[in-house]
Amino acid sequence: MTDEINTTLAATLRAAAAELQAQQPPPALQARIRAALPRPVSRPARRVVWAWSGGAAFATVLLGSALMVLRPAPPLMVDDGLRFGAFVRIAPDDHWPTGETAAWLVRTEVPSERLAALGLPYDPARAGESVRADVLMHPSGEVLAVRFVP
C-alpha cells in the first residue's frame, strides 16, 4: 500500500468518522428504554424533596450515617407502646443500595396508625396523632427502613 493511498484512505476515514459522529440516537429512544423496563424507574419522591433540599438531605445522610456507624444503637425503649431506637426493615434485601450508592436518612412524622402496618403496637386512641420517625430512603424514593424517635 503506498503512502498516497494511505493518505487518501486516512482522509476518507476521517470524513466518514465525522459523519458518523454527527449521528445521534432518536430523541424518543430514551423514553422507549424507560417504557421497556419491567420495573419503572422513578425519580426521588416529591414528598421528600419538598421538605428537604438536596444539600440538607445530603448533610443529614452524612450525619446519620456517621452516628449509625460510630455510635452503638441506643437501647430499645418502650414508650406508650412504641418501640424506639431500632430500625424496622421495610424493603427486601435486593432493593437496598449497593456499591457506593448512599441512602437518605430523613426525619419526618408519620401518623400513629401506620405503626400497625409495620407490626408495631400502638394505642388506637391516639391514632390521629403523629409520631416522629427517621426514614431511610433509597435515592429512587423507596423507603428502606424506619425507626421511631421519642
Partner: protein, 201 residues
C-alpha cells in the same frame, strides 16, 4: 506507512464510576440511568448504525443494550472493561440476532446512507455537497462490501476511534485478531475506493 492513530478522541467523562453507576441503575435509580444514557447511548447507537446501516435497527439494538443493563447488570464486570464496551457488546448481540433471523438483509440500506449524509447537508455549497456526497456514497458502499468482521473492526477503531483493547473486547476477539482484521479491512477498503475512483462515472 502512515499511522492510523485515533484522532479527535473525546475524553470520557470519568467523573462517575462505572460500577457504582451500574449498581444504581440496577437498583432503579433513574438519574443514574439518565447519566449513563447521555454518556454512552451515542457511541452505542453509532456503532450499531455503522454496522447495520439501519437507523431503526440501531435504535433497537441500543434499547436492548440499556434494558439489559437495567435488568441483567450482573453480566457487567467493571474489571473487564468500561460499561460502554459492555453496552456495545450487547448491541452487537442484538444485531447478530437480527442478522440470524434474516431481518437485516441489506447491511447499509439507502435510508441509512442518506441519514448519514444529512448531517452535513447544511453550510456547504452545492458543488462541495455533491463531491462530499459522492465520496461518502462511495465510502459507505465500499464499507458494505467488506466482510462483516472486517467492517466491524474498521468501524470500532477507525470510525469510532475506540482503543484497540476495547474494540477487541466488544468484538469478542484477541487483540492480534483485531489488528489483522483491521489491516485487511483497510487494504480492502483502499482497493474498493481506488476502483470506485478509477471507474467511469
Amino acid at each position: 506507512m502512515m499511522s492510523f492513530a485515533p484522532w479527535n478522541r473525546t475524553p470520557r467523562d470519568a467523573g462517575a464510576d462505572d460500577a457504582s453507576l451500574v449498581a444504581r441503575v440496577a437498583a432503579g435509580d433513574a438519574q443514574a440511568l439518565d447519566l449513563l444514557y447521555r454518556r454512552e447511548a451515542g457511541p452505542v447507537y453509532r456503532y450499531a448504525l455503522a454496522l447495520s446501516g439501519n437507523a431503526a435497527w440501531a435504535a433497537d439494538a441500543t434499547q436492548e443494550a440499556f434494558v439489559a443493563l437495567a435488568t441483567r447488570s450482573q453480566g457487567f464486570d467493571a474489571t473487564r472493561g468500561p460499561v460502554g464496551a459492555w453496552l456495545a457488546g450487547v448491541a452487537r448481540h442484538a444485531l447478530s440476532a437480527l442478522w440470524r433471523e434474516g431481518r437485516l438483509e441489506d447491511p447499509l440500506p439507502e435510508d441509512g446512507a442518506e441519514a448519514v449524509l444529512d448531517a452535513h447537508a447544511a453550510a456547504a455549497s452545492p458543488e462541495a455537497l455533491l463531491v462530499r456526497q459522492q465520496d461518502s456514497n462511495a465510502f459507505w458502499a465500499a464499507l458494505c462490501q467488506l466482510a462483516a468482521p472486517h467492517r466491524e473492526a474498521l468501524v470500532l477503531v477507525d470510525l469510532q476511534e475506540r482503543p484497540y483493547a476495547e474494540a477487541a473486547a466488544i468484538a469478542g476477539i484477541e487483540l492480534n485478531t483485531l489488528r489483522t482484521r483491521l489491516h485487511r479491512a483497510r487494504g480492502k477498503l483502499a482497493a474498493l475506493l481506488g476502483a470506485a475512483v478509477g471507474s467511469p462515472s
